[in-house]
Amino acid sequence: MVRGSKCYKVLQARGNANFRCLISPGCKAATEAPAEGTILRRNAAPISDSGYCRSFNYAAFSSTKCSQPESCTRIPLNLMRALANRSIDVSSLGASSSVQRTPVCSGSTGLIGSGGGLQSVRHLQTLAVTPTGPKIIKADTEETIEVSVDGHSLQIPKGMTVLQACEVAGKEIPRFCYHSRLSIAGNCRMCLVEVEKTPKPVASCAMPALPGMKIKTDTPLVKKAREGVMEFLLLNHPLDCPICDQGGECDLQDQSMVFGSDRGRFTDTKRSVVDKNLGPLVKTVMTRCIHCTRCVRFASEIAGVPDLGVLGRGGSEEIGTYVENLMTSELSGNVIDICPVGALTSKPFAFTARSWELKSTESIDVSDALGSNIRIDSRGPEVMRIIPRLNEEVNEEWISDKTRFSYDGLKRQRLNEPMIRRPGGYLEPVTWRAALSAVAQAVHQVKPEEMAGVVGKLADAESIIALKDFLNKLGCENTWCEGIGANIDADVRSKYLLNTTIAGVENADVFLLIGTQVRKEAPLLNARIRKAVRNNRAKVATIGPPIDLTYDHEDLGDGTDALIQIAEGKHPFSTLLSKAQHPVVIVGAGVFERSDKDAVMAVVETIVDQAKVVRDDWNGFNVLLLEAAHAAALDLGFVPGVTAKLLSKDHLKFLYLLGADDIKPDDIPKDAFVVYQGHHGDRSAYRANVILPGAAFTEKEGTYESTEGRTQQTSPAVPSVGDARDDWKIIRALSEVVGVQLPYDSVSAVRARFLAVSPNLFRVDELEPPTVWPQSITPRSSSSKIESSPFIKAIDNFYMTNSICRASRTMAQCTSAFANLKQI
């Protein structure tokens, strides 16, 4: 049974028609599990302390946004106290509508405070600032109450829990089960504090701070309570820290050092639990589990896969997947981070390194277009693991499994020296000098119109601008970027970026997803949409390949029919869209490569116009780019120039592939000279005449722009392999050998070039919002006719999308483990 996120009453009420929840008749907690209309609470029963729906409890007792917005009414304090005293006639409350609604805080500031610790204090000051979305999110900062923590009195916003109040006061409260992004479970009891006039210590994470409360965090009682809890937790926890991968970064280890007793009184045998198989990514040692249920709550609340749950009670309580099941989520790796002990650890990382011998480098992920913030942990020249870094605006504290686990691909199939294909067809390793002059020779033999440059998925902005400058200097305008289609409009930024921004998506209430499988293309954006669905009860409709998005959505078909109907106002969904307060339309990669793309985009823009998706204070038109290189390539204008479209691909005699692996060998004319610059001997390397080894994203300082227009930089964590060079340097060197020397000698000079072409790429770590929506431009009347063919799947296998993944053993294991499952 899933505990934690669900209403107790849901569980009790199953199959019992006499239950009905009086407090929140609209509570959706029930509909997620039992059949619709299940009655939650015994009719007209008097309210008892434990009788409420849990989500209602949270709503009342903390500033958490409950997942059921209708019932999530932040109950005014007097009412709450009245409830506590049971001095109120519940039946007079009627539906939740009679409860005076205080502004409901939205998910992103739901729990005031972030990852925990003292960050919350900083967070408080920035609360009033909405990340980007125009919806005003306000915490109840006007309404404050006074509490005292260890004798210091302080003003805190109403609705905070005792634990949060202590954090504001700078007192760190030990905790295991509490996690600011998950619902409150209150089952580890590590956060006990003393509150004056209460007979027992209280669990601070689940207790609302009330005016005048006198909280004490360092009394002998608290100390004893913590020691007691610690002793109980350690009763059944194995003593295998020396061989445990969590060792050194384990909450249990740390907290037992600080709060635990110096000796044990336990002589019995410890219990042991059978390990569960969660798939190729997450290793389990379930004997170590302390039943905090964080992983269960993460799976059902954030990842949206109710795979994990608690079985049994008391001494036989276990976390598991009910039946022999794998954990089928593209976010599953995050349970490794949130598990406070070593019960869930990384399988590929197992026994390979200890956390204290690793060097950490803060960097950016390139496996999708979101630019998740990551930390690369390396030992010597080897990347040992990749873990997320906190960035509220991008990835919060999660990353996808591809980001986390594809690093082992960085050690295989690497190109480490320049090579030239000899007449016999074999590749011969040569010096850089020889390789570059071979390329130069080829360049001199073809006309500029017969050349082309293709940028691949993982290229950084520096190499893109260098390649563009180089080819333009030669007179070639035949340049394009893989995977965004040939005729993309790169003139107006707002037409190819995720205008609502990743964080802004949380505020939306109606979604129309066109030709995109968000869950595969950008798992963390999908998690944000799921948040909007849970918090704002957003409605989601998809036009495109059917997919399990982990939340309720309406499938409007996979072809363009529904799209046209919506544009004509004939579809029921068009009313929903135009009535929405914060509508969001997301156009995905399934649209980019269509031959009738212009026509489709014209229809989309009609819809956008009609439903007023773009307004002064809200831009709900979004294009979800697929790959890390795309936004920068478009910003830098790496698209076919005017002269380029005249020639067909058959005339190409010289092709420069900057890590472009998806170009089909059949599309390349037999006699064309192909230069492949990249870090992996992937598909295109087999066709290349000359191979120039470049650096992977873990080895260079490269600028990347995310799909929402945020410029970020990777930093080198490990040295480049063999004789490889940074990518922009290769092109710069080649330009000189060819005789059209590029005017930059250092990376800062290349970046100065950004200033001239696309200044936003110069301002690292800033989100450059697209310019205002060009209102004067009417929807393009497209000449091409729209076809009714279905939207293609841009990604077939989530685990195999770029050259690094394809070289990764872990990703291959995932592919075979999840191949038969539809979900991912």
């Binding site: 850089w432 050998v737 020397q741």
Partner: protein, 134 residues
């Protein structure tokens, strides 16, 4: 054995620039006195003559000829004494001396430049051919 003849002394700082200079000259003389024994111990006769070694060492001194701060001079002398002590104690091995005083630091870096025709390339391209980190 001449080991542990002397331990590196710490003295108070020089009262004047004159005194500091005096210490430098004293120290150089001291080094020269130990040179033959160092040549012996490390078998340096086959690679360098005492006179050459002496001039190598005086070059090290001259490197700092522009220093006028007496405290800095004192410190340099102290470091020199330390180095000498290491040589006498055999805290160093032969290749340490070879790389510092016989071949010189520059001589230890591999030069791909040697024997390569200058094609009139830019500095960037020359560095590019050599390594990724230049």
């Amino acid at each position: 054995m001449a080991t542990a003849v002397r331990a590196t002394m710490t003295r108070g700082s020089s009262a004047s620039l004159e005194e500091a200079k005096h210490r430098v000259v004293d120290f150089f003389r001291e080094v020269c006195r130990y040179l033959p024994s160092i040549m012996d111990r490390y078998n340096l006769y086959e690679v360098i003559t005492p006179a050459q070694l002496r001039s190598q060492i005086s070059a090290q001194f001259r490197k700092h000829s522009d220093v006028t701060n007496r405290k800095v001079i004192d410190l340099l002398v102290f470091k020199g004494q330390e180095e000498l002590q290491y040589c006498l104690d055999h805290a160093k091995q032969r290749h340490h001396l070879l790389s510092t005083y016989v071949v010189g630091r520059e001589g230890m870096v591999q030069h791909n430049k040697l024997g390569v025709l200058d094609h009139g390339e830019s500095e960037f391209l020359k560095n590019f051919y050599q390594s990724n980190s230049l």
